[in-house]
């Protein structure tokens, strides 16, 4: 099991794309099993036994697991019982626990990931590439994934593992390659390397930590949510509670973290605060103004900054140039427009400023957002949202898929703004980030806030158990666990 680590934009994804035949190298060779290979398309790579599990799952929600797996591979084992048997066989052999007839939309994130892995194995892969597989998992799920991967390794398969989480890399990999700015800067032996040394190799500087130095919490409430209720109607007509009885106050200068396994209502909570979903009950108050049913634009204008969970779907216009993306979400505000007309000159100039101040690595502001790496896209979004002096920042997974260097910057910017009185609602799957940045923590489970914890004393494992619904109420750190 080989781990590949490096900053975003360092070239990890490009290297993987070359390995998977999505891009062609200008020079150099790829050798598989002592044989030189040249890939012109993913199909070539698959034929040579290379399979890729993407960071963003490539599954069709409204199809079953079986249908997703055979899609594009119909010739292998057909689409009927033979394929079903094969799926069961693979699933049993590697302990993947995949049910072929389940609908993908009903599966959790961890299950979907296993389907992705199975999909690759089904096509006969002997080398698996996993692009940040743990970004979306809770600690318990990560352990389960690693158990699966060890199983694969034991069967003689090769696993290439891309990650930003250095602790994980060290615990699971047999060998580590570090790349920075497009070249290999070093290799490491996990047995005698510390996370700190590894991080220094990656960024060429010291490891950042999300820890908050001093508390900046005031007693002036900025966002108040009272008994928020949100229902959704399922396709079969049944009404389901998505959010129930959510009450929450965030003060000026406070960072409130929400922990929870994805799909437990965090996304819906954010959308209710942003006005993208209309709540069925309860009151949302921002800075003493009732915004429960205000339109999204009004909320944005009155000072909510939004770093969305899925930047491609909610944060960017991928095929538009950077300066147009700078306008997005703030089209009615200075410097983007005056009296209904866009001020392109000012917007462009301000985009230049954001690129400079937030260290967005790009050759210019006329390139499309799609041509930037994930970390740089995120820096642009953070820069944009911070440029309008927000009163409340909603940060959903602000450093997901972002490299260590950019991560430290984003954390610094959030801290900086909080010192000036910004209220932050932080939602993250990275428990270290949550514990490090938050002043107070709540745990969300099945649409309710079930537990709270003091980030100063709690451990990721203790939080993890509350996230699976095993613990509720106020979580106290048990000191004997320390030993």
């Amino acid at each position: 099991m080989h781990a590949l680590v490096g900053e975003n934009g360092a070239g990890k994804s490009t290297l993987m794309k070359i390995l998977y035949g999505m891009q062609k190298p200008d020079e150099g060779t790829i050798t598989i099993d002592g044989e030189q290979a040249a890939f012109h398309s993913p199909a070539d790579a698959i034929a040579r036994g290379i399979g890729m599990v993407h960071q963003h799952f490539m599954l069709a929600d409204n199809l079953t697991v079986l249908e997703n797996v055979v899609l594009g591979g119909e010739k292998l084992y057909g689409i009927g019982n033979k394929a079903r048997d094969k799926i069961k066989e693979i699933s049993d052999a590697y302990g993947l626990n995949v049910r072929p007839d389940a609908l993908v939309e009903n599966l959790g994130v961890a299950d979907r990931q296993r389907v992705e892995i199975l999909k690759v194995l089904y096509r006969g892969a002997r080398t698996l590439i996993l692009d940040e597989p743990t970004a979306v998992l809770v600690p318990q799920e990560v352990d389960a994934l690693f158990a699966n991967l060890r199983e694969l390794k034991a069967e003689g398969l090769t696993v290439i593992f891309i990650s930003h989480k250095l602790g994980e890399v060290l615990s699971v990999a047999d060998d580590i390659t570090v790349i920075r700015r497009g070249t290999t800067v070093g290799t490491a032996d996990p047995a005698n390397t510390t996370p700190k040394q590894l991080a220094e190799l990656m960024v060429g500087s010291e490891l950042p930590s999300p820890e908050t130095r001093e508390s900046t919490v005031t007693d002036v409430p900025m966002l108040r949510i009272d008994d928020l209720q949100l229902n959704a109607v399922d396709p079969d007509g049944a009404v389901r509670e998505v959010l129930a009885g959510i009450s929450l106050t965030i003060h000026k200068g406070e960072d409130r973290g929400i922990a929870g396994v994805e799909g437990n209502g965090q996304a819906e909570l954010v959308e209710a605060i942003m006005g993208m979903r209309d709540p069925d009950g309860g009151v949302i108050t921002l800075d003493d103004a009732d915004i429960s049913h205000a339109p999204t634009r009004k909320r944005r204008e009155s000072g909510i900054g939004y770093i969305p969970e899925d930047r491609h779907r909610h944060g960017l216009l991928l095929e538009a140039p950077l300066w147009e993306n700078r306008i997005l979400g703030h089209v009615t505000e200075e410097p983007n427009s005056k009296r209904g007309l866009l001020d392109l000159k000012a917007a462009r100039a301000d985009t230049e400023r954001i690129v400079r101040e937030y260290d967005v690595r790009t050759p210019g502001i006329e390139v499309t957002a799609a041509s930037l790496s994930g970390g740089n896209q995120q820096k642009l979004i953070v820069g944009r949202e911070m440029s309008h002096a927000p009163k409340l920042l909603i940060a959903a997974h602000p450093t997901r898929g972002v490299d260590v260097g950019a991560q430290a910057q984003i954390w610094d910017q959030i801290r900086e703004a909080r010192r000036e009185g910004l209220a932050v609602l932080l939602i993250s799957a990275d428990l270290d980030e949550l514990i490090g940045l938050s002043d107070t923590l709540r745990v969300m489970y099945r649409g309710r806030l079930v537990a709270d914890a003091d980030p100063a004393t709690i451990t990721p494992e203790e939080l993890g158990s509350a996230m699976t619904g095993a613990a509720t109420g106020h979580l106290e750190h048990a000191p004997e666990d320390e030993a």
Partner: protein, 370 residues
């Protein structure tokens, strides 16, 4: 970053150029397959277009097409497919002609009234589809196709002599009655060549308005953002339903104008022989012109050229439907070639950005080393 601008322009032109080359080549294949000369029809058409009267015909036709294509393009820019431009255009022309013929006002007012009635009618007809979409989630593709059929029946009924129609003496045609001369839009005389409808210039001016609204106003930004990514637009504060309805109303309003060059400049009445199918040609033109006002202008001229210059083919033993075949082939070629060029452009830019960043990094390292 001038370099990226230039790149984009070249790629922008590559799409239509590729499409046209493919369409012409395929048309020649069709000609060859039916045992005809594969080149002569083109030379005939180009020679024919050298005559001043044909040029005036082309220009007038292009004005009408331009308006229809703008109407389609407004929808396209936010992923709305208004197939109903044809129905909106015909119904609007008919209502405008009816109102225009029934009143007598001083010149500018008379014209303004006719134009406003046309826009309102077009917007109303498209608005039905807009409301169905926002309230009931009915696809605008389906509803506008149906509204086209309904418009056809409605016009046929309204124009009956029992209702609002007039049957001129000694004719089988039905009209809505003649609009008084105060409601005629002044034309520009080209001597022997004929007259260019004045409204043609209004049509081209509307292209500038279209460009300005889309590229320089908040509303235009919201509309484009919705077209580029509905989810991102919603998160940025665009009210999707309001936007859909507004875009449909604007699209319908512009569609309503498409009948004005002919009505105000030539026929001065709506009759059974009023041109049909303009809205569908508008879809072709908007596609070929990439929803860009300048692109649409050239596409409108090209399609109008094919329409008008092909009339000569009959005299030389060719079917003038060759032009129709070519229009069809253009649509297919456009859809394929634009997608190819778009993907190529995105990939190429990603690569270039990567290269530039790597080069910058190398330079930094050298500086540090030095």
């Amino acid at each position: 970053m001038k370099k990226f601008d230039k790149d984009r322009l070249i790629l922008g032109l590559a799409g239509p150029a590729l499409a046209l080359v493919v369409a012409i080549a395929l048309t020649s294949v069709v000609l060859l397959a039916s045992g005809r000369d594969p080149i002569e029809p083109y030379t005939l058409m180009i020679e024919n277009a050298a005559y001043a009267d044909i040029q005036v015909l082309i220009l007038n036709q292009a004005g009408t097409y331009y308006l229809a294509a703008l109407a389609v393009a407004v929808g396209f820019r936010m992923n709305l497919f208004n197939i109903g431009v044809d129905g909106q255009y015909r119904l609007a022309a008919m209502m405008a002609a009816l109102v225009g013929a029934s009143v007598d006002l001083p010149g500018p007012l008379h014209i303004a009234l006719i134009v406003i009635v046309a826009m309102l009618t077009g917007a109303f007809w498209a608005g039905i589809a807009g409301i169905l979409r926002t309230i009931r989630g009915v696809s605008e593709v389906v509803s506008t196709i149906m509204l086209n059929a309904i418009a056809t029946s409605l016009i046929a009924w309204l124009i009956l002599p029992d209702n609002f129609g007039v049957q001129p003496e000694g004719s089988n045609d039905l009209t809505t009655g003649e609009i008084a001369e105060s409601g005629w839009f002044p034309s520009v005389s080209m001597g022997d060549g004929g007259e260019i409808y004045g409204f043609t210039f209004v049509a081209f001016a509307l292209g500038i308005v279209y460009w300005f609204v889309l590229n320089r106003t908040r509303f235009g930004f919201d509309l484009r953002a919705t077209g580029a990514s509905q989810t991102a637009a919603a998160a940025s504060g665009v009210d999707a339903k309001k936007m859909i309805l507004t875009a449909m109303l604007i699209s319908g309003g512009v569609a309503g104008l498409a009948g004005m060059p002919t009505l105000l400049g030539d026929t001065h009445t709506y009759s059974l022989s009023f041109p049909t199918g303009i809205g569908f040609t508008g879809i072709t033109i908007a596609l070929l012109g990439r929803n860009n006002p300048v692109g649409i202008l050239f596409s409108a001229l090209l399609i109008a050229f094919l329409d008008k210059a092909s009339a000569v083919l009959d005299q030389y033993g060719y079917e003038k439907e060759i032009a129709t075949i070519m229009q069809g082939l253009i649509v297919i070629a456009v859809v394929v070639s634009y997608e190819l060029v778009r993907r190529y452009g995105l990939r190429r830019q990603q690569q270039k950005v990567g290269e530039e960043l790597a080069a910058a990094a190398r330079k930094n390292r050298e500086e540090v080393a030095a």
